[in-house]
């Protein structure tokens, strides 16, 4: 069955975070990731509005109105954390100094193109910092539901929505599967518990290459 958002966040933590990694989190589902940090590693979260090394939410009476992450949530700073101006922050991001970006997605193509800022039904959309993150980080992964609200596949041959960046996504973590974007095509590496590779393929537009080692997700 499909993973809950929380279980998906736990899965992404387990697979992607390691001691010393610097991570930029997108708004929405990726923001959940910082709640499931393993306690034995040091992870530096970078927010594009100018924070490096922020922690969890403060207690209500400890809120500092000048300490907010890029999702607009009040956060705390870890000892060793730093504040800096936006132009330095994006210098950091676009210059490839941030190891990992975790973004949400509206669509991902089989070549790793990402669309996550505007749907054609709306005349206006907001890019925010997502284009910078998608192009700049050393490794970009997306976290998303496998199908949209209407049940349509979000992993597609070619994105029909306006792109955020081309050929940028390395791995897709969905509520049904873990899929790597490879030179040969999309490689199905893991499936959610109780979900078969055929069931994942049925809600995925491009043909998946099922890894010979495909397995059920572990957490």
């Amino acid at each position: 069955m499909a993973l809950t958002r929380e279980l998906l966040a736990i899965k992404v933590c387990k697979e992607e975070l390691y001691d010393g990694v610097t991570v930029n989190l997108g708004a929405g589902m990726p923001a959940l990731v910082c709640n499931y940090l393993p306690s034995d590693i040091e992870v530096l979260f970078q927010a594009e509005n100018g924070l490096l090394g922020y922690g969890g939410s403060p207690a209500l009476d400890q809120i500092d109105y000048d300490v907010m992450n890029a999702a607009g949530l009040y956060v705390t700073m870890l000892p060793g954390g730093s504040f800096f101006p936006s132009h330095v922050s994006f210098h950091m991001i676009t210059g490839g100094h941030v190891d990992l970006g975790i973004l949400g997605a509206l669509q991902v193509s089989e070549k790793g193109d990402l669309a996550n800022w505007i749907v054609p039904e709306k005349r206006f959309g907001s890019i925010g910092g997502a284009m910078n993150v998608a192009v700049g980080v050393k490794r970009l992964v997306v976290m998303m539901e496998h199908v949209d609200n209407l049940g349509r596949p979000k992993v597609v041959r070619q994105c029909s929505y306006p792109l955020t960046a081309t050929r940028c996504v390395k791995t897709i973590y969905s509520d049904l599967a873990v899929i790597d974007v490879t030179a040969k095509g999309l490689m199905l590496r893991e499936v959610a518990p109780g979900v078969s590779p055929e069931e994942v393929q049925a809600v995925t537009e491009p043909q998946l290459i099922v890894s010979p080692d495909v397995k059920e997700m572990e957490f």
């Binding site: 132009h87 925010g128 960046a165």
Partner: protein, 253 residues
């Protein structure tokens, strides 16, 4: 004697003209020169082109009075999932009705355009936006086998900047995450107007730790800090409530 301190916010924005391009520091709820924005609201300056990373936030009073006709921004609209409270953003309605217009710009590109504008550069090549709508109509050039899009530098007539401390030469330091777009925007305006929380004597700011040297600053006004009210609207009409997300007064270290 150099003295950039002016007596009031109203005096500080007195020469801001209709049709001006104005850069506003700030992000969501922090780093806006709210007292200067309120003075601009009182003054009623019209047809503003606003350079700011997002609509709503600290610009809300100006949107409500329809003073901003165009934004150069990375967040003109906010679409939250349907079950969640929505950000109250009159600029969206003004866009949809055609009263206002927007030039959308990735956030990092926006701040870098201003930083470059402040430094006298014409523009820069960035990998950000290649292959997307953002690159439409712009030069794309290959360097070392990789595509880059030419983004032009940007400047404003005025910048409204929020600082923690200032001296009479206009040297500034910012506080924590309130720094955000302020140091870059302060460099790229013909007239840079600063709202600071505290005026200190010359020499009191450690010269090794000044964020913005006074050369970029034209006016300083001292005002009690204010944070923008972030208004949220609940999706259920019957339960529609606008909340002031938190009591945005005080709380300063």
């Amino acid at each position: 004697m150099i003295n950039k301190v002016v007596a009031s916010c109203d005096e500080a924005v007195a020469d801001v003209f209709d049709g001006a391009t104005i850069a506003f520091g700030g992000f969501v709820g922090t780093g806006y020169a709210m007292n200067l924005i309120e003075a601009l609201h009182r003054k009623g300056t019209k047809n503003i082109t606003a350079i700011c990373t997002m609509a709503a936030g600290g610009l809300l009073p100006l949107h409500e009075a329809k003073q901003i006709r165009k934004m150069i921004t990375s967040f003109p609209v906010f679409y939250m999932p349907a079950h969640m409270p929505q950000v109250y953003n009159p600029f969206e309605q003004q866009l949809l009705s055609g009263e206002a217009e927007v030039e959308i710009c990735p956030q990092g590109t926006l701040v870098m355009r201003m930083w470059m504008g402040g430094g006298g550069y014409a523009g820069f090549y960035t990998p950000v936006g290649v292959g997307t709508k953002v690159a439409e109509g712009k030069e794309v050039r290959v360097f070392d086998g990789k595509e880059y899009v030419l983004e032009r530098a940007l400047r404003a007539d005025f910048a409204l900047i929020k600082a923690r401390k200032a001296d009479r030469w206009g040297n500034l330091i910012y506080r924590k995450g309130a720094i955000n777009f302020n140091p870059a925007f302060a460099t790229a305006a013909d007239v840079t107007i600063v709202e600071a929380e505290e005026l200190v004597e010359l020499g009191e700011l450690d010269p090794s730790f000044i964020h913005t040297p006074g050369i970029y600053v034209d006016r300083v006004v001292i005002a009690k800090p204010k944070w923008p009210e972030i208004k949220l609207v609940w999706p259920d009409k019957a339960a529609e409530t606008e909340i002031d997300s938190l009591a945005h007064v005080g709380k300063i270290i």
